[in-house]
Symmetry: C2
Subunit: 391 residues, 2 copies
């Protein structure tokens, strides 16, 4: 066999971090194990992939879409981004992507040179570090989200700024945060904008959970904060917002001065996104605001129930679909996750979310109907109590 690429050596394997949990769940003997390890919701899709184009969409679903996306969809997404940021976003800044993964990959490939460092506000999305490595970069985790919840006087801006090194090129963050459920408010986004300006860094905002912000302030895109539009990439996941993981479409909003490199990379990676999936998103954009609010309220209620019944220390979500359990007093996080799986409850092992997260586990409170989540939490509490008895 000839030699092959080294670049992917540090990228995690393609097997799922949930394989072991699912294997244990299957072997648990429970007829219907309660899987709270995957990020998902019980909601139906807001629209489905269709094969007949609408007149307004102006594009046959059977035809190959242009690289950046079907024009009518790009225009609609630019309009939505303009409203969200309250400043003009042009359709050329919008790249329709195969989900948030492809959007993040396109942004990273557009900005990184070999060995450039990306600050990853941590805990972070399971695949963020792998994507940074695959793009030739080096992820550097900056633990902030757990600290935001734990310590009232936590110096967020100071911690992030002290992590900036000469090789730092960008800051990536996901807010509302997977896996903690914490969010960066306007003040903290402002602090990020400020330090990005002073150190000339790119900002990459992963807005996957934008429609699940429980606060009165509501969701704020980094592009709407200060003068960040020239240095901010925003990722959006319609898989999450409109509960359409099958179609799996997202988008990347790039700074006006850097629209060509992500488009080029994307064209070389996959040409364009499946047309029926784009058509489904075009339809989903018409989902009434009330329906999205209803779903957000359902998630907030599920989060509140989890928060008020869990006897394991955990984060108190103000957005997103997750709470992160702190198992450090119990002992080993991985052992706890395996014990839960044996008793028919799936949790996501913590270490995938950051090097400092091995003693935690993620619970998705929207992955099953409320009654089932409650049942799972009862079992989790029991196992947590037993652990202490054993010690």
């Amino acid at each position: 066999m000839p030699s092959h690429a080294r670049a992917l050596g540090e990228v995690p394997g393609s097997s799922s971090p949930f394989d072991r949990v699912e294997e244990l769940l299957r072997g648990s003997g429970h007829a219907a194990p309660i899987g709270l390890h995957r990020g998902r919701t019980v909601f139906g899709p807001c629209a489905r992939a269709r094969t007949r184009g609408s007149g307004e969409f102006g594009f046959a679903a059977d035809a190959h879409a242009p690289p950046g996306g079907v024009p009518a969809l790009r225009a609609a997404l630019a309009q939505a981004a303009t409203a969200r940021r309250q400043s003009a976003v042009r359709p050329e800044q919008v790249l329709v992507t195969r989900g948030a993964t492809h959007a993040l990959a396109a942004a990273l490939h557009a900005i990184l040179r070999e060995g450039d460092e990306v600050l990853v506000l941590s805990p972070q999305w399971l695949f963020a570090n792998g994507l940074i490595r695959a793009a030739g970069g080096v992820p550097r985790e900056v633990p902030v989200f757990l600290e935001l919840g734990a310590a009232r006087g936590f110096d967020f801006a100071g911690v992030v700024e002290r992590a900036v090194a000469p090789g730092t090129r960008a800051i990536y963050f996901n807010s509302p945060n997977n896996p903690t459920g914490y969010r960066l408010d306007g003040g903290r986004l402002g602090a990020l904008a400020d330090l990005a300006e002073r150190h000339d860094l790119w900002l990459i905002a992963d807005n996957t959970y934008e429609s699940y912000d429980f606060t009165r302030e509501g969701f704020l895109d980094i592009g709407a904060v200060g003068a960040t539009a020239a240095r901010a990439f925003s990722l959006h996941s319609f898989s999450t917002t409109y509960a359409m993981p099958g179609a799996g479409v997202g988008c990347l909003i790039s700074p006006p001065g850097l629209t060509e490199p992500p488009a080029k990379w994307s064209q070389c990676a996959l040409r364009s996104v499946s047309t029926p999936a784009q058509l489904a998103v075009y339809e989903a954009l018409r989902t009434p605001r009330e329906e999205l609010d209803r779903r957000r309220d359902h998630a907030a209620a599920a989060g509140w129930l989890a928060d008020s019944t869990l006897e394991v220390p955990h984060t108190k979500p103000s957005g997103g679909l997750y709470t992160f359990l702190d198992l450090s007093a119990w002992g080993d996080g991985e052992r706890f996750v395996h014990r839960c799986a044996e008793l028919g409850v799936g949790l996501a092992p913590g270490r995938g979310f950051g090097a400092h997260c091995g003693k935690g586990a993620r619970l998705c409170f929207t992955a099953e109907p409320p009654q089932r989540v409650a049942e799972a939490i009862e079992r989790i509490n029991k196992i947590y109590g037993e652990g202490f008895d054993e010690h």
Copy 2:
């Protein structure tokens, strides 16, 4: 604006090489210009993206597909590849991709280190060089396809072998060839297999036009030739085979020893392919052989008509959807293409298919119904004749 990636600097822009031709067509004043510049067929899709999974598919169309592809589809594709190669291909070797573009990108990223050279048997697919550059490699065009048709005693193996340099890592070829319609027969594939073995190179076979091979020998996959299975990547395009460019699914068959790197890269680029699109391909795999044969015969007949009526020197297709016009006697290829567009006929400018192809143009003889193709050829012949009158 902070600095950004240099790697994409040499990748062609994201605008289409057909933009100028289409602009001229729109301005031509013809109510229905005849577009033979795009690669496409008049056939309807063999299946359409659906949102309800079949029992056999075993996967909900609304759910996120696993990174390598839905298991039932991978298994079916492995079975098809086993039959094609007459040697076992395991499902792990199959990566379901977003079309042939994503398949080629995954293979290139799996094998290339920065600066590695890829021999591109030329003329080649419009985007091949860009994909190689985006993966950090250096494309080196080796003109062979036009020579295969022109010179009976052409030393194919010798020409390719003399192009091999110390930095050469792979050979990429597309047969039946876009844009010439020529193909590599068993003897030539054997010669490639032999020299890949001697120089320890990867082979990347772009099988996009596998279902459009007009010869009695029929289509032969490089993986079925000699002992190449350990060093051969095969790309397949279901967009082309089943006329489903909207769904846009393809696959990559990797050597048994190198299945993990393409899967890793793919997971970091887009996670997985849209589930409804995978379901559509699963259905399309059941298209009766007779229907595919009928489409192939339609293409062969259209190719024969083009061949027998064109008064411009051109390649004599033995497969694929194209013939390549030789405009060197007329003068400038680009000017000819523009003149045709002004008269309502779209051709693809030659230079995108190779540095040595500027005096040519590609004609897709399946892009419109036969009567329209015939009408376009009449106009092309007239323009060609006028050119000489002017000289």
